[in-house]
Amino acid sequence: MPAAESGNRQSSALLGVRLTLLAAVSAAMMILDNRDATALTRFRQAASVIVYPLQVGVDQPFAAWRRARETFAAREALLEENARLKSRLRDLDVRLQRMATLEAENVRLRAMLDSSVRVADRMLVAEILAVDPDPHRQRFTINRGALNGVYAGQALLDAEGVVGQIDIVDALTSQAVLISDSNHGLPVAVNRTGLRTIALGTGETGLLNLPYLTNSADVREGDLLVTSGLGGVFPPGYPVGRVTAVQRRPGQSFARVLAQPSAGLDRGREVLLVMDTGNAGPTATANGLAESGR
């Protein structure tokens, strides 16, 4: 028994040493990762290849369920959806025609002004693999990574508007921060007046906060917010959301302005990655206004 006792003591001392060592390693990793997100990129990319099968494996049953639901969807539902999509397509076609003339006009005017022209951006479709389980963080994982040309800071859109931006790029997947994440700021402009400000995420999916608008600022409920393109991360002119509440507070210097994102942040499976637009490259993101913390 004494032998066992001393053996226990020795092994528990060893345990303490190992705890200290491993805790020091994790703390060092956290500090490195926090200081400079690129420091551990290689490790992250290599290690994420190991956990990638798990991510895909978890997604498989859900994907199978979706496929099954699509396969066995009722005929009426499909017909109804078809009709709905057709009418929507008609609407969009009409709008597109107007858009074409507007775009031509825009190009002409810009040429007159001798400024840079941006007609259309190249897009890459990505599928959302997983949503961050932490309810405080608005993030998700998509199935495109460094091998597909994704870079940190890249803008993410969906059919209705801006979704977020890429934060961490792994080899096969990448993590995106939503514009509603409480650490995210997005340079926007009020479409009606051109007034520039910054939309901050609140941590709630359907809510953006515009804290830097003064009481005298010309902003109304229902105003459309678009990306201003300042900061060099997001391409200008994409819809961000609509102002839902404007509360002018005489005692304060800033008004309380809230907006609802137009993109389906908690809906949909597909997002569009804006590929390099020429004026917003990976170099421009480093000092952008829209920074994301972690």
Binding site: L15, S26, M30, F62, V131, P135, T141, D266
Partner: protein, 162 residues
């Protein structure tokens, strides 16, 4: 060592399953109540097989969790290490304790895990509110299920080998 491979199959499967369960997408209503699958599995195996599932395993699982959730690298690892350390140090005492005492110890260990996570995040930045402790409740309810399905901790292998 060859004979050890088979008994390792169940724990390994359980750990991978725990990782998978902690990233399964849940609805917004249910998500805050997701049990702490990974700490639960690690605590169980640290007590059941202290020889095989030690701190290195906890470290690796923590890093895997960090990669899967995209959090700061080392965040979950640092929170898991002290929890598993305590489980390892106390495993002989926990083994002989009554089942309700075991359950209370496990809940306390999980509370420590959550406390460490909040501490790492810097609680001041984002006051978590009561809902943040919801996983503790569901994990506490889950623990008896784990114990019953796995039939206690099994033979004391640490003792056996000495």
């Amino acid at each position: 060592m060859i004979g050890r491979v088979r008994p390792m199959l169940l724990p390994m499967t359980m750990l991978v399953l725990a990782l998978a369960l902690s990233i399964v997408p849940l609805g917004d209503r249910v998500a805050p109540y997701r049990p702490d699958w990974v700490p639960l599995a690690l605590i169980y195996w640290a007590i059941a097989r202290p020889r095989h599932f030690g701190l290195l395993c906890a470290f690796a699982m923590g890093l895997a969790l960090d990669l899967l959730t995209g959090s700061l690298l080392g965040r979950h690892a640092l929170a898991l290490l002290p929890v598993v350390y305590l489980a390892l140090r106390l495993h002989l005492r926990i083994r002989v304790a009554l089942s309700w005492q075991v359950a209370v110890t496990v809940v306390l260990l999980l509370a420590l895990y959550h406390f460490l996570l909040f501490w790492i995040d810097g609680v001041g930045q984002r006051a978590p509110g009561a809902i943040a402790w919801a996983p503790l409740l569901t994990s506490a309810l889950l623990w008896p299920v784990v114990m019953v399905t796995l039939g206690g901790f099994g033979p004391d292998r640490m003792r056996e080998s000495q």
